[in-house]
């Protein structure tokens, strides 16, 4: 009997991984890219693509030939796109979404933070393996950008971690469900703003689209990619467009859980999940379409000076709030 229960649990876990990781995450991500493209088009007096366009693009790219340049390191070049995709999917699988993740463990916040850097690292690997001068500049820019945004990002993420007193998503989310989202506290709001800025950089959207600035360095690290490997990179990017809002919602907006034991609460929660994600995605689109590209040194300056300073202020406030016992500081 015990054995059967264990097998059942493993079966449910596997089904969860397959369904959530390989059906929900990429498809919702592609849907979010469509929202971005359509919103952008409407803001720019254009019509915009039909809703199936991201899927059509993906299928088209998958059916095309993958070219590997003669100067490229073949294995690394071809391994980079799947690494990017699987890291994004795995980051999503560890986070709670609707239900608690079967893969959760103490310290999963740290692992997810690492997994969310992986797409950028994969892009750097693939870019430097491709042997293209534009890719080399793109990799150099991507690396500098990662170094500059990662510190304020981790500092900002420490705010909810400190307040909830745990490095586990489930604890952070349940803490917020009991006492309200961290966004409603001063330090949480500042850290949230810093995270929005970092999300923009992690997805290489304006004003931080410097690693793949197309009028400067063609496509940066992705310059030599084509066919299926480019499709996987694009899918990884789309998945990240879903993963990052999930992460921020879990950290600052009270989580994406549904209280199944109460039908009314469950309905409200379901609506709230959609609202939270859509608001985050639309905010990103607004920033993306109403800013020009910053020059690399300006962008790095923004992160090293403004973002780091604000994140440090938020962290100090949260330490004070925990020590003094003022939850709204």
């Amino acid at each position: 009997m015990n054995m059967a229960n264990e097998l059942l649990a493993i079966g449910v876990g596997v089904l969860y991984v397959i369904f959530m990781g390989f059906v929900v995450a990429p498809n919702v991500g592609l849907f979010f890219t469509w929202i971005h493209r359509k919103l952008g088009a409407r803001m720019q007096w254009r019509v915009g693509p039909p809703i199936y366009q991201p899927w059509a693009d993906f299928v088209k790219l998958m059916s095309k030939e993958t070219l590997v340049p003669a100067t490229a390191h073949r294995t690394v070049f071809l391994l980079a796109p799947p690494i990017a995709l699987f890291s994004a999917v795995l980051a999503f699988l560890i986070m709670p979404f609707v239900v608690r993740s079967p893969l959760e463990f103490t310290g999963d916040v740290i692992v997810v933070l690492y997994l969310m850097i992986m797409p950028a690292i994969a892009a750097m690997m693939g870019g430097s393996a491709s042997g293209n001068p534009y890719a080399a500049i793109g990799v150099q820019r991507e690396m500098t950008l990662v170094f500059s945004y990662e510190f304020p990002f981790i500092t900002a993420v420490l705010v909810p971690v400190l307040k909830a007193g745990s490095l586990r998503f489930a604890d952070i989310v349940s803490y917020q469900m009991e006492r309200g989202p961290f966004l409603l506290s001063v330090s949480g709001a500042i850290a949230f703003a810093v995270s929005i800025m970092v999300m923009q950089a992690k997805l290489a959207f304006p004003p931080f689209d410097i690693p793949e600035a197309k009028t400067e360095i063609i496509a940066g690290p992705y310059t030599e990619y084509s066919g299926a490997s480019l499709a996987l990179f694009k899918l990884a990017h789309a998945t990240m467009l879903f993963v990052l809002p999930c992460f921020v919602a879990n950290m600052f907006l009270g989580g994406l859980a549904i209280r199944f034991y109460d039908p009314i609460a469950a309905t409200i929660d379901a609506v709230l999940i959609i609202v939270k994600l859509l608001v985050l995605v639309i905010v990103m689109a607004l920033i993306r379409f109403f800013y020009p590209r910053a020059r690399p040194d300006q962008a790095f300056g923004m992160f090293w000076k403004a973002a780091t300073a604000w994140a440090a202020i938020a962290l100090t406030l949260s330490v004070v709030s925990v020590m003094v016992g003022l939850p709204y500081l």
Binding site: P133, I210, T215, E216, P292, R293, A294, P296, Q298
Partner: protein, 397 residues
């Protein structure tokens, strides 16, 4: 330039998303900083001058129009002025006003197009689309006035080919001018007021007044550096003497100054068009060509990008003996070197864009080049030798 540091060569072009046309800029960079630039053109050579010597004077009008897709009427106008200069033809008043109208409308659409492209170069696609949206009414107005959105084919030696029905078109022209005036001013404010746009444009790609003189720059590139030169004011052609031109000058010399000069010129052009429509006299639109003399003529015209010069030599037949074109980008191109050095790769596209380069206008000389990684640029005599004796210069050296 000392080369002992780690200097990397970054080719921009011949095909690059920042450019609409093939050209090549070799940037020598140290990290992100540009330390040297080499400019190579010649990918776009179409043999227009050669073709012009095999067509009649009337046919060349339509050939020179195709030198450029954006400032098409500038070349046509300039060529016709050169022919009129050679033949000593007096252009009727109404034709001069119609030429002014078409020329200024073209300046508006060209500057709006440039503003969009410049914003695209710094990654601001939303404002790019906005600028092009307000260019659309101008193109539609062109279609109503001339039958075409581009390549209007309005001008011929001695006048213009089509009359404009002012009774019908005057309200339409004024309506379009009113429609674009306010939004363009607002967009210009948005550009000048946006902190990040300012950070990208102000203090970038500075061309000092001295360099602007030394490199013989023309047009908005020169006017952004404080040089008050404009053919429309200095040697008025068409109806500019009567209508008057207020030459817009800024002294900073950076990309922002060149942008603002162009925006102010759009406003000035709108004013000129409004005055032109009101003051347009009645009368004939074409002077007759009575004979084909043996003569030389020069036409000067202020295109949206700067001064165009056409030279024609007539030999008494209907076929011109020589047509020579100097487009503004040819004059402005070398000035990119002082503008680029010292700035970063990220600045390169907007600096290159700031002179509003138009390469298909510029290409008159082709340079023989690369094989097996070696680059051999031929001298003129070597090139002639190559043509006559079929000696491969790469093997000779």
């Amino acid at each position: 330039m000392s080369r002992d540091r780690e200097v990397v060569e970054i080719p921009l072009g011949p095909y690059h998303p920042a450019f609409k046309e093939p050209e090549m800029f070799k940037l020598y960079v140290d990290g992100e900083e540009i330390v040297d630039v080499k400019i190579r053109i010649g990918y776009q050579h179409r043999g227009i001058e050669y073709l012009a010597q095999r067509m009649t004077i009337q046919q060349v009008v339509f050939l020179v129009e195709r030198i450029c897709g954006i400032c098409s009427t500038s070349h046509q106008n300039c060529y016709c002025q050169a022919i009129e200069d050679a033949m000593k033809i007096e252009v009727p008043d109404r034709a001069r006003y119609i030429r002014t109208l078409i020329g200024e409308l073209e300046r508006i659409h060209s500057h709006l197009l440039w503003a969009g492209v410049a914003l695209h170069l710094i990654g601001y696609d939303t404002l790019f689309m906005y600028f092009w949206r307000y260019r659309e009414p101008v193109c539609e107005l062109f279609e109503e006035l001339t039958g075409n959105r581009q390549h209007y084919a309005m001008i011929c030696p001695g006048g213009v080919r089509r009359d404009i029905d002012l009774k019908k078109m005057r309200p339409k022209i004024l309506k379009v001018m009113k429609e674009i005036k306010e939004p363009v001013a607002k967009l210009a404010d948005a550009v000048a007021g946006d902190k990040l746009v300012r950070a990208r444009m102000s203090g970038v790609g500075v061309l000092t007044r001295q360099d602007a003189i030394r490199y013989c720059t023309v047009g908005p590139t020169a006017r952004g550096s404080g040089l008050r030169i404009d053919v429309r004011a200095d040697e008025p052609y068409a109806a500019y003497k009567e209508l008057g031109v207020d030459v817009k000058v800024m002294t900073e010399g950076d990309v922002l100054a060149k942008t603002l000069v162009r925006v102010q010129e759009i406003m000035e052009s709108i004013g000129i068009i409004e005055r032109c429509v009101d003051a347009m006299p009645n009368g004939p639109i074409q002077a007759e060509i009575k004979e084909y003399p043996v003569a030389e003529g020069i036409g000067k015209y202020e295109a949206p990008r700067g001064e165009v010069i056409h030279y024609v030599k007539l030999n008494g037949t209907t076929v011109p003996e020589r047509v020579k074109v100097r487009a503004p980008t040819y004059a402005n191109l070398p000035s990119l070197v002082p503008q680029l050095i010292g700035y970063s790769i990220a600045d390169a596209p907007i600096i290159l864009g700031s002179i509003d380069p138009c390469f298909c206008c510029t290409e008159r000389v082709s340079i023989v080049d690369v094989r097996e990684g070696r680059t051999v640029v031929l001298t003129m005599s070597e090139f002639n030798e190559f043509g006559r004796k079929r000696k491969n210069p790469l093997k000779v050296r």
